[in-house]
C-alpha cells in the first residue's frame, strides 16, 4: 500500500527586490493519501491545486518539507538512483503526453527495455519487452520501429508498455490522456481499464478530466489549494458533491457521462 502522510511543501518564489526576503508559496499544506493494493484512485483538482507537486513527492523526485511517503511501510525519499530501484520496480509512472516522453532516436525495443536495464530487473529482457507490448495490445513486430514511425495511439501504448515492463503493482499517471484526440484517448483509457480489471494493477490517476476519472476510478480525492477537501467513492462524489470546490469542478463539465 502506498501512503502519504502529512505532506507539506512550499516553493520559494523569486525575490521582489535583490535585497528582499523570498516570498513563499505553499503548494501542499498537509495532505494524507492512501492507495491500497489493486485500488484505482482518482486525484482531481484545478490547475495550481498541488496535484503535480504531490505526484512528484509520491514519485520520490521531490522531498516534501514535512511528512513522509511510504510503500508497504518502507520510506520513500529522494536519494541516489540505486536507493530507489526497489521502489521504481514496484511503482511506475505514465507522464503527461506519453508519446512526447519517448526518445525519438531509440527503437521501441530500446525504449521499453530502458527501465529493465536501469532498474536491474532480473530475467530475459527481450521476452519481457514482448510481454509488455502484448499486454498493451501492441504487435511485438513494432519493436524495431522508432517513435516517428508510430501512430499517436501506438506511441501512447509504447509509453504505457515501458511503464509496465518492470512489473509494477501501481501506476501513477499524470494527465495521461489530456491533449489527445478523442479516439486515441478512448483507446488508452480502455487499455488502462483492462489492465486493472484483468491483472489487478493499482492506479493513481491525476486528472482534471472528470469523465476519465469516472470511467476508471473506484475512489476519488479532491485536492484544492494544497489540501484534500473531499474524498469518497467516485459515484457518490460525482452525484452528491459536498464541498464547494468539488461542485465547481463538476460545474465545469458540460455534461456528465452516463
Amino acid at each position: 500500500m502506498l501512503s502519504a502522510a502529512g505532506i507539506e511543501h512550499d516553493y520559494a518564489l523569486h525575490r521582489r527586490r535583490p535585497w528582499g526576503a523570498r516570498d513563499v508559496a505553499a503548494a501542499l499544506q498537509g495532505v494524507d493519501l492512501q492507495v491500497a493494493v489493486g485500488e484505482r484512485v482518482g486525484l482531481v483538482g484545478t490547475s495550481g491545486s498541488g496535484k503535480s507537486t504531490l505526484l512528484r513527492c509520491l514519485l520520490g523526485l521531490e522531498r516534501p518539507d514535512r511528512g513522509t511517503v511510504t510503500l508497504a511501510g518502507r520510506t520513500v525519499r529522494p536519494g541516489s538512483t540505486a536507493s530507489l530501484r526497489w521502489y521504481r520496480r514496484l511503482v511506475q509512472y505514465v507522464p503527461q503526453d506519453p508519446a512526447g516522453s519517448l526518445d525519438p532516436r531509440s527503437t521501441v525495443r530500446e525504449l521499453v527495455s530502458v527501465p529493465l536495464r536501469h532498474l536491474h530487473v532480473p530475467g530475459d529482457h527481450a521476452a519481457a519487452v514482448t510481454t509488455a507490448l502484448t499486454r498493451v495490445g501492441l504487435d511485438p513486430e513494432l519493436a524495431g520501429r522508432r517513435p516517428g514511425e508510430l501512430s499517436g495511439g501506438q506511441a501512447q501504448r509504447v509509453a504505457l508498455a515501458r511503464a509496465l515492463a518492470p512489473g509494477p503493482v501501481l501506476l501513477l499517471a499524470d494527465e495521461p490522456v489530456s491533449g489527445l484526440d478523442l479516439p486515441v484517448r478512448d483507446q488508452v483509457v480502455q487499455v488502462l481499464a483492462d489492465l486493472s480489471a484483468r491483472e489487478g494493477l493499482g492506479l493513481l490517476l491525476v486528472s482534471h478530466d472528470l469523465a476519465v476519472v469516472a470511467r476508471l476510478c473506484d475512489r476519488t480525492v479532491v485536492l484544492a489549494d494544497g489540501l484534500v477537501v473531499e474524498e469518497g467513492p467516485t459515484a457518490d462524489l460525482l452525484t452528491r458533491p459536498a464541498h464547494p470546490r468539488t461542485r465547481e469542478l463538476l460545474a465545469a463539465v458540460p455534461a456528465l457521462p452516463a
Binding site: 520559494a12 523569486h14 525575490r15 521582489r16 527586490r17 535583490p18 514519485l59 523526485l61 541516489s80 538512483t81 540505486a82 530507489l84 530501484r85 521504481r88 511506475q92 509512472y93 507522464p95 503527461q96 503526453d97 508519446a99 512526447g100 516522453s101 519517448l102 526518445d103 525519438p104 532516436r105 530502458v114 527501465p115 536501469h118 532498474l119 536491474h120 522508432r146 516517428g148 514511425e149 508510430l150 501512430s151 499517436g152 506511441a155 515501458r162 494527465e175 489530456s178 491533449g179
Partner: protein, 596 residues
C-alpha cells in the same frame, strides 16, 4: 535556487581570484632571474656580488616561492605600488597610468565609431521590420568587410589613409589627426559585429506574433521600432559587451601598428622586453577595463529589462534556421579561392631566397617576392597549411574541453565568462611572457579562450535537452544523472557542438595570424600569415605586393570566418534525427507541445 546561485557566485569569485593570482606569480612561472639587469640599471659601478644580487632578489620577493611572491605583489598593490621595472629599476606605475589615459581616449573614439557603424547597419532592417515587411537577415557581404580583424584593418588603413593619401599621421600620438585612423581600425570591426548582431536580432524579432498584433492595433512605425529595439537589445547585451571587451585586445594590435604610446603597446613592449612587473600592472589595468565594460553591460541589461530580469521570465527569441543555398555562396567562394592559392603554391619552396629582392609579380612569380627574395605565393600557400593545421588542432582541443566543461553549467560560469571576455591577444601576451614566443604558445593562447563559446553552447544545448520530456521522465525509469548525461545529453549535443567548433576554424586561424603579426607566435622564417604581413609592412611603399599577398589571403579568410559564423549562430535545433509523419505532434525544444 539559493544553492545553485551559490555555486555560480563561487565559480565567478574563484576564477577572478585565479586570474589575479596567475598574473601575480608570472615572474615565478617564467623562471627568469632579473636581478643582474636591475643591478646594472641602478648603478653601473656596483659590482655584481652574490650579496648584492641576493639583496635585490629579497627586495623583489623572488626567493619566497610562488605564494610569497604573490603576497609581496598583492601587498604592494594595496599600497598603490604597481611594482618596480626589471629594465629601468624605477616604478612602473606613473608611465602606465599615462598610457592608460591614452588608451581610454582611443577606446572612447573607437566606441563612437562603433556606435555610428552599428547604427548605420541596423537602420535598414529596423526600417523594414517597423513598416511590417518581413526582412531577411542579410547585408552579410557588406558586414563581412567591416568585420576584418583589427591588425589587418589597421595595416590597410595605414597604407591607404596615411601612406597613399597622406591625410593622417601614420605614427605617434600628436593630436586629433592621429586618433582618426586607429579609432576607425578599432571601431569599424566592433561596430560591424554589433550592427550585424542587432540587425539579425531585429529580423528575428520581427517574425514574432506580437509584432503583427501591434500593427493590427495601429501602432506607428516609430512606436513599433522602439518596441522592437527594446525587445531585441536585452538578449544581445552580453554579446555586445564581449565585442566591447574585445576592444582592449584590438588596442594592443592597433597601438602597435600606429606606434601609439597606449596601454596595449606598453604591455606588448613589456612582454617583449621581459619586464614582468610592467606587464603584470598593465594586464591588471587592461582586465580592469574589460571588467568595467562587462559591468556596464549588466547594468544596461538590468535597466532595459526591469523586473522581468528578476522574475526569470525573459522571453528567449526563437531561432530561425534558413539554411538557404545562397547563404553558402560567400563562404563557398572564399574557401574555393583559398584552395586554389594553396594548390598553386604548395609545390613551391617557401624558404629559398632564389629570386631578386622584392621582385614584382610576374608569370613566374604570381605574387612577387619578399624582402629576402622568397616566393610569396609559396609562402602564402605554405602559411595557409601551417596556420590551418594549427587551427584544426586548436579546434579539436577546444571541442573536447568545451564539451566537458559545458556539461557542468553552473560551476563553469566563471571560467567561461572570463575566457569569453579575454581577447586572444591579451592571453597571447601572458603566455608569451610565461613560456616565450612560439607557434605552440600562440596555439595555447588561442585554445585558452576559444573553448569558452563551445562550452557556453554545450551548456545551453544540454540544458535544453534536459528539459525535453523524454529526458525528464528518465529518473523514474531508474536512469541516473551520469547516464542521462552520457547517453542522452552528450550524443544529442555533440554533432551540433562539433559543427559549431569546425565553423570557428577560420576565426581561430585569424587569431593565430594576429599573434604572429604582433611577434607573439611563429618565429621567422616560418611562412605564417601574420608574420608575412608584419615582414612586408616596412616595404609597403616600394613593394606593395609584399603586403597585398598576405592581406588578400587574410581578407579572404576573414570573409570565410564571418560568413561561416553567421551560419553557426543559426544552428539546426539540437534534437536527434526525427522523422515526423503527418498527424503526430513532435515536441521541439523551442515549442513545448501540449501544455496541460
Amino acid at each position: 535556487m539559493p544553492r545553485r546561485g551559490w555555486v555560480t557566485a563561487a565559480s565567478r569569485a574563484v576564477t577572478v581570484l585565479g586570474v589575479v593570482a596567475l598574473i601575480g606569480v608570472l615572474p615565478w612561472l617564467s623562471g627568469r632571474s632579473p636581478e643582474l639587469s636591475i643591478l646594472r640599471a641602478r648603478s653601473a659601478e656596483q659590482e655584481a656580488t652574490l650579496e648584492a644580487l641576493a639583496a635585490i632578489r629579497a627586495e623583489l620577493g623572488l626567493d619566497a616561492g610562488p605564494l610569497g611572491l604573490l603576497g609581496h605583489w598583492l601587498s604592494g598593490l594595496v599600497r598603490g605600488d604597481l611594482g618596480t621595472s626589471w629594465i629601468s629599476g624605477g616604478p612602473v606605475g606613473p608611465g602606465l597610468v599615462h598610457a592608460l589615459g591614452v588608451s581610454v581616449t582611443l577606446m572612447s573614439a573607437a566606441l563612437l565609431v562603433a556606435l555610428v557603424t552599428a547604427a548605420l547597419l541596423c537602420w535598414p532592417p529596423l526600417h523594414r521590420v517597423a513598416r511590417g515587411e518581413r526582412g531577411r537577415t542579410g547585408g552579410a557581404a557588406g558586414a563581412a568587410l567591416t568585420a576584418l580583424p583589427e591588425f589587418l584593418l589597421a595595416s590597410v588603413l595605414l597604407l591607404v589613409g596615411a601612406v597613399w593619401l597622406g591625410w593622417f599621421d601614420p605614427y605617434g600620438w600628436t593630436g586629433p589627426s592621429s586618433v582618426v585612423l586607429p579609432a576607425l581600425a578599432m571601431g569599424l570591426p566592433a561596430g560591424g559585429l554589433i550592427g550585424r548582431l542587432v540587425a539579425d536580432g531585429l529580423t528575428v524579432t520581427g517574425t514574432e506574433r506580437w509584432v503583427a498584433t501591434w500593427q493590427v492595433a495601429g501602432a506607428s512605425p516609430g512606436q513599433l521600432g522602439r518596441a522592437l529595439l527594446r525587445r531585441t537589445l536585452p538578449a544581445l547585451t552580453t554579446q555586445v559587451a564581449l565585442v566591447l571587451v574585445g576592444l582592449t585586445g584590438g588596442a594592443v594590435a592597433v597601438e602597435q601598428v600606429f606606434a601609439i604610446p597606449g596601454l596595449g603597446r606598453a604591455v606588448l613592449g613589456a612582454a617583449e622586453a621581459q619586464d614582468l612587473p610592467a606587464l603584470q600592472a598593465g594586464m591588471l589595468l587592461l582586465l580592469g577595463i574589460s571588467a568595467l565594460f562587462g559591468g556596464l553591460a549588466a547594468v544596461t541589461r538590468a535597466l532595459l529589462l526591469g523586473r522581468a530580469l528578476r522574475s526569470g521570465s525573459v522571453p528567449v527569441p526563437a531561432r530561425t534556421s534558413p539554411s538557404r543555398r545562397r547563404d553558402w555562396l560567400l563562404p563557398g567562394g572564399a574557401a574555393a579561392l583559398l584552395v586554389v592559392v594553396v594548390a598553386a603554391g604548395l609545390g613551391r619552396d617557401p624558404l629559398a631566397s632564389a629570386h631578386p629582392r622584392l621582385a614584382a609579380p610576374s608569370a613566374a612569380l604570381p605574387f612577387g617576392a619578399d624582402a629576402s627574395g622568397r616566393d610569396l605565393l609559396a609562402r602564402v600557400a605554405h602559411g595557409a597549411v601551417q596556420t590551418v593545421g594549427t587551427a584544426a588542432l586548436v579546434v579539436l582541443v577546444t571541442l573536447v574541453v568545451g564539451v566537458l566543461v559545458g556539461l557542468l553549467p553552473r560551476a563553469s560560469v566563471g571560467p567561461v565568462e572570463v575566457a569569453n571576455a579575454a581577447p586572444p591577444v591579451i592571453v597571447g601576451v601572458l603566455v608569451a611572457a610565461a613560456l616565450g614566443t612560439s607557434q605552440a604558445g600562440a596555439a595555447l593562447a588561442v585554445a585558452l579562450v576559444a573553448w569558452a563559446p563551445i562550452a557556453a553552447y554545450v551548456a545551453a544545448a544540454s540544458a535544453e535537452v534536459r528539459r525535453q520530456r523524454h529526458v525528464t521522465v528518465l529518473p523514474v525509469l531508474g536512469v541516473g544523472p551520469a547516464a542521462v548525461t552520457w547517453r542522452y545529453a552528450v550524443p544529442t549535443v555533440l554533432p551540433a557542438a562539433a559543427r559549431n567548433a569546425v565553423l570557428r576554424l577560420p576565426g581561430i586561424a585569424l587569431a593565430l595570424a594576429a599573434l604572429g603579426f604582433l611577434g607573439l607566435g611563429a618565429t621567422p622564417p616560418a611562412p605564417e600569415w601574420g608574420l608575412l604581413l608584419a615582414e612586408g609592412m616596412p616595404y609597403v611603399e616600394r613593394a606593395p605586393w609584399a603586403v597585398l599577398a598576405p592581406t588578400g589571403a587574410l581578407v579572404t579568410a576573414s570573409v570565410l570566418a564571418v560568413s561561416l559564423s553567421g551560419l553557426s549562430r543559426r544552428p539546426r535545433r539540437p534534437a536527434g534525427p526525427v522523422a515526423v509523419p503527418t498527424g503526430t505532434t513532435a515536441p521541439s525544444p523551442e515549442q513545448p507541445a501540449a501544455v496541460g
